[in-house]
């Protein structure tokens, strides 16, 4: 299925300039995606936060791009940025993310939330691009427009 880009944000130079997820344009080849948008937004916000905080924040030419596709009953969302390369052990850090049992922790919930909001995620840096691929299982049926 040919799905379109859902969001493209140019990061200028400062975090406060960025109102991420201020627009969410869905073009999913004429189909309504049935999903828990609250979970999607919570999980996506954490990934975008990390990209801004650790990769593109402060870079004058930093770009962050979100793409969406539907493959084999999964909503596949890719978050790409051209910022500082993510550490090579990011995938294993993500897979070891805790269960948030320390409810009074001031930080460290991001990856755990992503694990709860998506069925899987892949983190890699290729050809100077950080790419996070998120997988979300769709409801059994999609409704044609």
């Amino acid at each position: 299925m040919n799905a379109g880009s859902i969001l493209h944000v140019s990061i200028r130079s400062r975090l406060e300039d960025v109102g991420f997820l201020t627009q969410l344009l869905i073009d999913a080849a004429g189909q309504v995606i049935q999903a828990d948008w609250i979970l999607l937004e919570i999980g996506l916000a954490e990934v975008v936060n990390n990209a801004i905080k650790y990769a593109v924040g402060g870079l004058p030419d930093g770009h962050l791009t979100l793409k969406a596709d539907i493959r084999d009953g999964l909503l596949v969302v890719e978050v790409e940025d051209n910022g500082l390369p993510m550490p090579s052990d990011t995938q294993s850090v993500f897979e070891r993310a805790g269960d948030m049992s320390d409810v009074m922790a001031l930080s460290g919930r991001g990856f755990s939330l992503v694990r709860q909001c998506f069925s899987d995620a892949r983190f890699r840096n290729e050809d100077g691009v950080n790419r996070v691929t998120l997988y979300y299982p769709l409801a059994r049926e999609t409704v044609p427009l």
């Binding site: 975090l15 406060e16 960025v18 109102g19 991420f20 609250i38 979970l39 937004e41 919570i42 916000a45 954490e46 936060n49 801004i52 905080k53 948030m100 049992s101 409810v103 009074m104 922790a105 001031l106 930080s107 919930r109 991001g110 939330l113 709860q116 909001c117």
Partner: protein, 110 residues
């Protein structure tokens, strides 16, 4: 961003920021910490918050730690997205959650 009123001896903190996220979490926490509260229980009214991320949650936890209250602070007015975030992160162990200010004030402090 933050309004403090007093009702029935309770400090009612009304947050009106829309999205309590990484973009404003530090500024929100600093604004709160600059306030002076009266002695007594604290109730946080989140009616004006439509979304919270982990940074916003961290700011709230930081405030709770700063307050050093004898029991759990009350919180109310959770919008659907905020309610989901609180469920995912087990915030019911940190806050006493009420549907609204009136219900919270009518309930004995925990």
């Amino acid at each position: 961003m933050l309004t403090i009123t007093h009702a029935n001896g309770t400090n009612v903190l009304s947050i009106d920021v829309g999205r309590l996220d990484a973009a404003i979490a530090v500024r929100f926490k600093d604004t709160f910490l600059a306030q002076e509260l009266s002695p007594g229980p604290v109730l946080i009214d989140m009616t004006g918050v439509s979304f919270i991320d982990s940074s916003g949650l961290g700011a709230l936890i930081s405030i709770v730690k700063h307050l050093k209250l004898p029991g759990r602070p009350g919180i109310c007015g959770l919008q659907p997205s905020v309610k989901t975030m609180f469920s995912l992160t087990r915030m019911d162990r940190v806050f006493a959650i009420y549907p609204d200010v009136a219900t919270a004030l009518a309930t004995p402090a925990q």
